[in-house]
């Protein structure tokens, strides 16, 4: 299809999405200017559907008119297409495999379990609470005593997980999980990441996340 390909970077996103925030953080870490395009997920735009015809989901990074989909794929793309600035992934193949493993683990476990924490009640919610504590403890184990998941530098796994730290308050209030109490090292890591400009700028304030979920709960009739 001919026609003008818009130059530069655009991010199709939704304000509270932790997946979108991964991309925003990565772009800022690389000091890459981009146009942020907030999407109405209840009424998806032609641009979104055209850019992600398979999943019709955000985030989508459009670079010189070409779309890249799936947040972790986008972050790796940003790292590889703009390789002159500091890397998000380590250079050693085994360290890279470990980074991909933990990012994949976060993808498989955190969002789904977190959703069940606020969407369910009674027995299923108890189960979700138990699972979330296990997930957080596992991640805390992977962090160990290092300042960041990758070691001394903020990197891929930190980018993958840090947006979910804005959800800790929501987990606490709806799921009765205290990350501070259960996983103090993880809580400390969250604070440490929160001091970075890219994170400060792009994470939703925890109270806003809580309000958003509270509104959704009312909408779904979950009290």
């Amino acid at each position: 299809m001919a026609g003008e390909k818009r130059k530069g970077l655009q991010l199709l996103d939704f304000w509270v999405s932790p997946f979108g925030q991964r991309c925003r953080i990565a772009l800022d870490e690389k000091a890459l200017p981009y146009e942020y395009l907030e999407q109405d997920l209840g009424n998806k735009s032609e641009l979104l559907i055209r850019s992600n015809p398979v999943h019709k989901k955000i985030p989508v990074l459009v670079h010189d008119g070409r779309p890249v989909c799936e947040s972790l794929i986008i972050v790796q793309y940003i790292d590889e297409a703009f390789s002159s600035s500091s890397s998000l992934l380590p250079s050693d193949p085994y360290a890279r495999a470990q980074a991909r493993f933990w990012a994949d683990y976060i993808d498989k476990k955190v969002y789904d379990c977190g959703t069940r924490l606020w969407k369910t009640k009674g027995e299923p919610q108890q189960q979700a609470r138990k699972e979330m504590v296990e997930i957080l403890k596992t991640l805390e184990g992977a962090l160990g005593d290092k300042p960041y998941f990758g070691g001394d530098e903020f990197g891929f796994v930190d980018v993958a997980f840090v947006p979910f730290t804005a959800w800790f308050l929501t987990y606490e209030r709806f799921g009765e999980i205290s990350v501070e109490k259960e996983c103090p090292k993880l809580a400390a890591w969250a604070k440490r990441c929160g001091e970075r400009e890219s994170v400060k700028k792009n994470l939703s304030p925890p109270e806003k996340v809580y309000e958003f979920i509270a509104t959704l709960k009312k909408k779904f009739g979950i009290e």
Binding site: C69, I73, Y77, R96, A97
Partner: protein
């Protein structure tokens, strides 16, 4: 490098095959350690404590689980023909379709085999729709990777070799050459490739083993299918 390479795998598993074929394509010799998935070994549980699944690649003292992560590791750790393209956008596209296979194809495929009636029809429609999307990525090329086998071919290998075996056991037809001409042509190309054939499990053996396990497969579905 000279360090020992082993794959903890399973005879029946297309995921296990992904790890093996990546090593074969790079010309890396390895030892295959076959697991009895009904009775998992200490070695497997030690090296994949989180997911407890095959395959796991052991390279020297390093353990790498998750088949697609293994393929990227093999591509980066060993010399030999590249399994991913060089261009970042093409790499992102390859990763997208590899993930699509795992996230959108595995489950509806499995459910379309062992459910019945309207529920089965629903899953069959879903998997066929997704296979059509995947087929669209071939665009007349020999392989998804172009002239040579790449990440997406490896990720899709289950649909090259295992698909017809499962169709036969389940008595279900999902991908005919009439409906999926490119995909079926690709399947033949893949399974007749010299290097791939070194690590493909024998079809007749797969058929016999899956036929014997049919009741178990049907029972797995009862806990998976949404209410």
């Amino acid at each position: 490098m000279g360090e020992t390479v082993k794959v903890i795998g399973a005879f029946d598993s297309p995921f296990s095959h992904r790890a093996e074929v990546a090593l074969c394509l790079k010309g890396v010799p390895y030892e295959l350690l076959l697991e009895d998935l009904g009775n998992k070994s200490e070695l497997l549980l030690k090296h994949n404590p989180i997911h407890k699944k095959v395959p796991v690649l052991l390279h020297g003292d390093r353990a790498i689980p998750e088949s697609l992560i293994i393929v990227e590791y093999v591509d980066e750790a060993f010399q030999g023909p590249p399994l991913l393209p060089a261009d970042p956008f093409d790499r992102a596209t390859a990763r997208f379709w590899a993930r699509f296979l795992d996230d959108k194809c595995s489950t509806p495929f499995w459910l379309s085999l062992w459910t019945e009636g309207e529920v089965q029809q629903g899953f069959m429609k879903e998997i066929k729709g997704n296979l059509k999307l995947l087929e669209g990525q071939l665009k007349g090329k020999r392989f998804f990777g172009g002239d040579t086998i790449g990440l997406v071919d490896i990720a899709a290998s289950g649909f090259a070799h295992w698909l017809s075996v499962f169709e036969e056991v389940a008595g279900v037809t999902l991908a005919t050459p009439e409906e999926f001409p490119d995909l079926c042509r690709w399947g033949k190309e893949y399974t007749s490739h010299d290097t791939v054939m070194q690590c493909l499990p024998d079809r007749a053996t797969l058929l016999a083993r899956f036929t014997a396990k049919k009741d178990i497969f049907v029972s797995t579905v009862k806990s998976m299918a949404p209410k």
